[in-house]
Amino acid sequence: MISLHQLLLLSAVLFVIGIAGFITRRNIIIMFMSVELMLNAANLALISFANHSGSMDAQLIALFVMALAAAEVAVGLAIIITVFRNKQTVNVDELNILKW
């Protein structure tokens, strides 16, 4: 049996890589993918807990998280598409109208 500490550590590393990607990359798509990475890290933790506690509940939660991630991706990509649709009319490099 793989030790829970190792599994959680792997999950934490993936989670933190997700955070790092989110805060350093300027590409919206990659920022978004970093969030997906964070969700996967959470899923890994959940499934590890399921395995180590012998209860399937955590797997179910992970399943719902996946469904949710799919929905989030649909909405997120739709928002990105709207933003870039306006690219023709608005300078998107300065996606920074709202501030202060």
Partner: protein
């Protein structure tokens, strides 16, 4: 696996009504998409969604005395849930009423727009009547996704796009933290149900484990983001400013109330054994949130953005109440902090709906009302509107005899009651500072002349109704608060 489960669908009736209404609204969108546009679909959508909300409100009201759970303890209907459900429904109704005036800009997605508004409300109701973190999470995401879309629903406007994108990115980021926290709490206790959590957390020997605290921290972050607590607040001004104004109003009142409602339930049920850990966190965040919100608002020239910062500041006052919760109170109805939060959120809903409503009413299609200069002289051109705005501003700054005063008074007296004198002093001082920027709006309306003549406004019954009801409520609940307080008292009685 046991199959012997019975589901009490009656408890879910209000939610079912809402979803049905949303489906009809979508259908409406499809029908009208085929036919020609005009303001017809928008109006039909508004009427239909209002009807759905009203029916749902009656059904919710009928549940006032119900204290029951079903779906394997995942759903819990009690007066606490009912109180907040009614508040969300009111917020949603206000959102619908305020939207009518700008319906022309919906460009053929009116049905979907109202459907999303209704579904977002549904998500809130699910959240607050949940007794399981998983259900809370799904409800939260339903609400959030719907609101992201609504923020970006003015898709031809760059501001709307940008606001939606920023809100979405940070929101998705935050929900990553939330689900990770839920995972850890599950790992540490083996359950996601509130009661179960409380039991296991209470029986941990030798203090909570690192995993439990990690779960607590990450889950808190997820909700603190939703209620716009500093430092998880940075999205608020941008999202509020860029969103269509009715949606801003809806976010300011309903989304924030939902965040606080869930936070209250979670802290008072599931995480109560860890109170000695989260109470100081709330203390610190309350101070930071009040300071940042009030200071940020001072400098604003856009009223909408000022109200966004003001909503951060108000989150700070509410956090003062959360920091003043007495985890040992035998009867939660005796805990003044809980009552203060419930009363505060109701008043806060009214004040904000009213203030945003006035902004919407004063704007015209070609000239949206936004900056402080634009309201100059409004006191004479639109005397009733300006008077209502003055009432809302006075209430927001906490001047008696408005409801805003009593709300703040309850919060600070709760803090003093728990011996948090320094917190109360900081709070009162902040509230004194806040007068400066709220008053600026009144000064501009009544004591400055406008440079250009203000345009005549077309009468809009729905918006006027929303403003009138809010103004009446703010004054009524300031002078005669007992009915609301009784309701709040009953609501918190079944909280723990």
């Amino acid at each position: 696996m046991s199959n012997s489960f019975e589901i009490n669908w009656n408890l879910l009736l209000p939610e079912i009504v809402l979803v049905t209404a949303a489906l009809f609204l979508l259908l409406l969108g499809v029908i009208y998409r085929v036919r020609a546009g005009g303001t017809g679909p928008a109006l039909a959508g508004a009427v239909l969604s209002l009807a759905g909300l009203v029916v749902c409100a009656f059904m919710t009201l009928a549940q006032w005395d119900t204290v029951s759970g079903t779906f394997h303890g995942m759903l819990r209907i009690d007066p606490f849930a009912t109180y907040f459900n009614l508040l969300f429904l009111a917020g949603a109704a206000a959102g619908v009423l305020l939207s009518v005036r700008e319906a022309g800009s919906l460009r053929g997605v009116a049905g979907e727009y109202y459907a999303l508004l209704v579904i977002a409300t549904f998500g809130m109701m699910v959240m607050v009547s949940a007794a399981d973190l998983l259900v809370v999470f799904i409800g939260l995401e339903t609400m959030s996704l719907a609101v992201y879309i609504l923020v970006g629903s003015r898709r031809e406007k760059a501001e709307s796009n940008e606001a939606a994108l920023k809100y979405f990115l940070i929101g998705a980021f935050a929900s990553g933290f939330l689900i990770y926290g839920i995972a850890f709490l599950f790992g540490a206790t083996g359950t996601t149900q509130f009661r179960g959590l409380a039991e296991r957390l209470a029986t941990t020997d030798g203090g909570p484990s690192g995993l439990q605290l990690l779960g607590l921290g990450l889950v808190l972050i997820g909700f603190l983001f939703k209620v716009a607590a500093v430092p998880f607040h940075m999205w608020v001004p941008d999202a509020y400013e860029g969103a269509p104004t009715p949606i801003t109003a809806y976010m300011a009142v309903a989304v924030k109330a939902a965040g606080f409602a869930v936070l209250l339930r979670l802290l008072n049920v599931g995480l109560l054994p860890l109170a000695s850990y989260w109470l100081p966190v709330m203390w610190t965040l309350a101070v930071a949130t009040m300071l940042v919100g009030n200071l940020g608002a001072i400098f604003q020239s856009s009223i909408k953005r000022m109200l966004a910062y003001s909503s951060i500041a108000h989150a700070g006052y509410l956090l003062v109440a959360l920091a003043s919760i007495n985890p040992l109170a035998a009867n939660p109805a005796d805990d003044r902090a809980l009552l203060a939060v419930l009363y505060y959120l109701a008043i806060y809903t009214l004040m904000n709906v009213g203030a945003f409503g006035v902004l919407i009413y004063m704007g015209t299609a070609g000239r949206p009302m936004d900056t402080l200069e634009q309201v100059r002289g409004a006191g004479f051109r639109y005397p009733l509107l300006a008077a209502a705005m003055a009432v809302f501003m006075f209430s927001l700054s906490g001047i008696p005899p408005t409801g805003g005063f009593l709300a703040k008074f309850y919060v600070f007296s709760a803090a003093i009651d728990r011996g948090l004198i320094s917190l109360a002093i900081i709070g009162v001082l902040n509230s004194a500072v806040s007068v400066y920027y709220y008053l600026r709006v009144v000064v501009q309306m009544y004591m400055r002349e406008s440079e250009e003549p203000l345009p005549a406004l077309s009468f809009s019954l729905p918006v006027a109704l929303a403003i009138l009801l809010s103004a009446w409520g703010v004054l009524q609940l300031g002078i005669l608060p007992s009915c609301l307080l009784d309701a709040a008292g009953r609501a918190v009685q079944f909280l723990r």
